[in-house]
Symmetry: C2
Subunit: 155 residues, 2 copies
Amino acid sequence: MATKETKDSGIQPPRTLDGQLCFALYSANLAMGKVYRQLLAKLDLTYPQYLVMLVLWERDGVTVSELGDKLFLDSATLTPLLKRLQAAGLVARNRSTQDERQVIVTLTDEGRALQAKAADVPVDLFCAMDCDVETLGGLKAQLEMLRSNLSDAAK
Amino acid sequence: MATKETKDSGIQPPRTLDGQLCFALYSANLAMGKVYRQLLAKLDLTYPQYLVMLVLWERDGVTVSELGDKLFLDSATLTPLLKRLQAAGLVARNRSTQDERQVIVTLTDEGRALQAKAADVPVDLFCAMDCDVETLGGLKAQLEMLRSNLSDAAK
DNA sequence: GCTAATTCAATTGCAAGCGATTGAATTGTG
DNA sequence: CACAATTCAATCGCTTGCAATTGAATTAGC
């Protein structure tokens, strides 16, 4: 055999930077982060903090684990992030009385009020992406499939 | 006007977590990072470090700025990363004699030797993604377009 | 030739992100 | 009931990623 081949397929994955899908994913994500940083600056939120607020605006009063399941993050990331949101006066953290292991995250009045100020964010971001809706929808579906496959592969 | 609309388009970008392309991008990138962390553990590299090595394996002896242009990263990220690669014995960092402001990054013998050990990484990752090549190619092109558009939007 | 503007890497301070571990609370099993 | 296993949040240590700044080297303008 002259060159290494992918199992059973005979396909050659690219070995250079430019050829790799993963680098495109990585750098698109970085670029998205920069746009969000600008858009969210007026709300004093980072993108992961904004994601937590999105979850809470949809359904208030969730545990750290539930947040983690929705956002694919664990407590090592969420606990300090939630403390910062608490310090900013946007959420409260309270132990569940039913199960003292769980911490319930709740919106404060200020946190609820922030939703109105954040209304423009999805619109502005949609404009920044400058794509037609069909493309974005297809891209979203493919990325979700990719995330699912990669999650399965990672143990 | 009953609801806010995207400029001139009448289109409603999604406001919930599940609806957002950006979250799909963000979480797919996190999932990719976890797979790479496992694959690269045997090489003692992180994914950004691996990207730097990819660049150097393609063309040895590049400046920090050139690395930054290729990887869309700046010196605040690259300098400490390169110092870690240097501490690991994979690269050397030397001031250019032509222009003392520039730092030239060069592979050591050990760094060059690592390329052989990394040969399986793209293959393994391709398997982990579990997609056909056409899908991956299309996805890569769309992500590159998205990155470009977002970069333009961010200042 | 001299000063102003620019370029380049480095540094600082902060916020993720995660592997690994800890400790408390709960559940399961005999 | 007892006690082992599990679940859950928190903590530690490390590596990105970046805005802002610094300081040195180079280039441009006069």
